[in-house]
Assembly symmetry: C2
Homo-oligomer: 326 residues x 2
Amino acid sequence: MKVSELGEFGLIELLAKIVGGTGSDVLVGIGDDAACWRTDASIQLATSDALIQDVHFTLRTTTWRELGWKGLAVNLSDIAAMGGLPKYALVSLGLPGDTEVKSVVELYEGMAELTHLFDVAIVGGDVVASPIVMLSLAVVGTTQNILTRSAAVPGDHIAVTGYLGASAAGLVMLQRGLRFDKEIAASLREAHLKPYPRVVEGQTLARHGVRAAIDLSDGLVGDLAKLCKASGVGARLFIDRIPIHPSVHTAFKDDRLNLALSGGEDYELLFTSSVEVIDKVKRLMPCPVTVIGEIVDEEPGRVRLFDEQGNEAKLEKGGWEHFAHH
Amino acid sequence: MKVSELGEFGLIELLAKIVGGTGSDVLVGIGDDAACWRTDASIQLATSDALIQDVHFTLRTTTWRELGWKGLAVNLSDIAAMGGLPKYALVSLGLPGDTEVKSVVELYEGMAELTHLFDVAIVGGDVVASPIVMLSLAVVGTTQNILTRSAAVPGDHIAVTGYLGASAAGLVMLQRGLRFDKEIAASLREAHLKPYPRVVEGQTLARHGVRAAIDLSDGLVGDLAKLCKASGVGARLFIDRIPIHPSVHTAFKDDRLNLALSGGEDYELLFTSSVEVIDKVKRLMPCPVTVIGEIVDEEPGRVRLFDEQGNEAKLEKGGWEHFAHH
């Protein structure tokens, strides 16, 4: 059945069933003019991010389920990068009338996988007709301590969670139809289409004294430059210490450093703090943490790369920017 | 200059200046991974709504400034319909690369007009490349008492704020290029493109004992039916009492009742309560309030129309539904 046959209100009712069962503090969920919930005195966080067909994804290589996961994951990652606990999501979905209802159900099932993992309630949104698929999400969260881009200070070490480069490598693989060993191909695909938001990690950082963080969406060097600019500092990156994803090492030997430095969409957390705090949080974090550089008192936003011998290295190209010509 | 020349980050910096100057409870606004603010123990509300080019608006008849106003207004109206005070907005904007920066500035100025009127802070969002213009907003608000669609009970009177039909009449005028007296044309255009969200009115209702409300986005009869369905009740509407907008009376004499009953996008509030409560709030409301019907114990969601002589009348066509074929 097509969504044009089911109609807007029938579709909303169907989708509400998939993501229903909201938490006890939700007073009003899907189906009224707005969602409502009770809150205690706290810090609230909110973020929104949109995915546009053939700009951010293509249905030629992305399943509807993966699209649902990724659309929500990138928003959860933003909340995680602020040290927050994501709680409520609003989904605005644009769909051509001839979209199969089954596809929309799969999209919501992809989101539901993540809402169950992180106890997030989808409390509202809307479904509208659109010539292309458009998925716009807003997520609201809560926290007691926040991480910001503007809190890095000279002397801080720079650390990153997990491994880098696999998402961009996955994109290249899908775009060019490259073939690799089955396990490597699966890990690259998953890195690109099902990124795992570092929600628990972000809260661990915020609770244990870290103050500066950003999530890696546009590429390590570009995002680090943004953090540095916001903090009025510069940075030195030690390229031999970058934790390149093992599958990228194997599948993209020549391009691996470039993919890790500027590939984008890794959704790992980059954070800075004193060496003492980083040593402490390293032991508490449920994922690998690697120190890859240091914050310096230099031109704000300037990021310089150095190899093991202390020689300065050049970045081949910048991170990904919407609208910009490369 | 085109947005592709300025680039995503330059554009975000420019737009942040237009809507900057956030309230004192905002800890982090535009420019970090998420926005943050402090909140007391309360009820929080959230809603989101998207406007898609050539589905919800056309740039042939809508100015960018009007688009900005309307995109925010329809979300504020949803918060108003729950009795909430809108506080924070997130803007996800999809734009073709060849969009003039000047146009985007006007769009934001249109939103800024409303944020100043209602003391709402635009705290975040994103700007993405898109083949068509797409404006998706999420608004978060706060309240102590909520209005819902599910609180109507038999015996309640049904009341509505302001006058109906002018937005749909404005749409017909713009679509067909109809020409009217200058003042009438201006009032119809404004009703359609610059709807005024009933924020103060919604809070007045919630504070003074009203419990059931909905905002009129899809048409009086269709929206009343939704409220009735959610409340498990039916309704009788007295068509001779419908407050038809004066400009619609003049310009659409033959179609005036149909426009008021099912035209949609009036963004007035429809609410139900005991006659005593309605008498009280009528005196407190800063806008006209008209009693137009009553809630009855009948098939849930059934709305019947009656004329002054007590004869049942038929609705010519239903409200507007996305994807549905009329």
